[in-house]
Amino acid sequence: MKISLFVMISSVGLLLAAGPAWAHHAFAAEFDQNKPLKLQGTVAKWEMTNPHSWIHIDVKKDDGSVVRWMIEGGSPNNLYRLGFTKESLPPGTEIIVEGFQAKDKSTRAVGKNITFTDGRTLFLGLSATESEPGKK
């Protein structure tokens, strides 16, 4: 179906009026509230990228096979300012992710809560024992 470029451009250009970056519906459009999940796996890599960071984890299924999941997180920039670096979450670290699967049914999920196996929450939990975050 061909739509003239003019109509395509002029018909939308939606930008939420109140401004803040992460609008409700962006996440609600991307992840499925009917597909909550809890995953435990080992960190394969931590992509400190924007607009979202991604933790890649290897999750062992019941049959012994391994599935690679990508867990979406927040911007790393403030973590940098708190003193965290790539080395703060080394590959091999075991983490537990509670979140929701992506609506496209891929092995992507948003990581609503992430903890280590001892219950400490990620990043700020790290700071208590492992890293020395920079003072604000």
Partner: protein, 338 residues
Amino acid sequence: MNYRLLASTALAAVVLVLLLAKGSVGQTAPAAAKPGKAWTPPRTPDGQPDLQGIWNNSTITPLERPKGLGAKEFYTEQEFVELAKRVRQGDVGKEADLGAANPQALRYDLSLYGFDVTKTSFASNRRTSLIVGPEGVVPPMLPEARKRNADRAAKNKGHEFDSYENRPLQERCILMGQERIPMLPAAGEGNLLQITQGQGWIGLLHETNHDTRFIPTDGRPHIPQNIRQYQGDSVGHWEGNTLVIDTTNFTDLVPFRGSGEKLHLVERFSRIADDTILYRFTVEDPTTWDRPWTVEIPMSQAKGPIYEWGCHEGNTMISTILRGARVQEEEAAQKSGK
């Protein structure tokens, strides 16, 4: 009558009042300088007021005045202290707007990434709303603006997930929100602005989406009217120690609270203390509101640095969302036995 006793009591009373007025607000001293005592900003080597540095406009003060506060523009020092105390206990109350920092069901917990609601703050100028004036709200939209916005929404209705063109600009990494002008803050992160001054130009680099505006202060006119830009066209000049930036040439794809392409924005940056820039903007659009309205937000000096905030390069939002819509359509089609 013991005048000396009276005098010393009166003096003590005056001193006491002054001490209470100064308050024990601690780190959040009111930004406004005492009347009659203007603070002079340092100068750059070529003689301009120095606005350079990294600035943070984050606040939980709402854009519009909370219902019930009527025409009250400022909290008293005492009220402000109480509000701050409550925030430190984790309760921002109905006087605040956390905006996108409010918990969201389908998003990562912001506290994982350093957000701490007890460290948020109301604007240091003690305003009850970012919008100034007795009403403290956005003026009502003119009928033609309501129609224009309704038509746009109607065109997209039922097509919200057809294609990337139907999605909001922030899902496409074209404009995210906090960096677009006029600049409105969020309660959490993404609010850092770096200012650098060169010869006859001011550079404003917002961390969000690495949005950069280099603004000439050489008195040149705006670019031709037929060239429209997402962030408009900005020209600046100095009025005393205040940098005034005038912006026109917006496209019709960036409604600001419903505005159209005739939006005219004037921003003012005044460094009123070593660690504070007062950001004031006035917007007008005769096709949207019957009068201009003004917002004032103090920006405080922040510890940087600003880091690269690539968006488009790492954008999986739009592709996941569109793919998700296609998957759900496919499922619905299969269910209905097609």
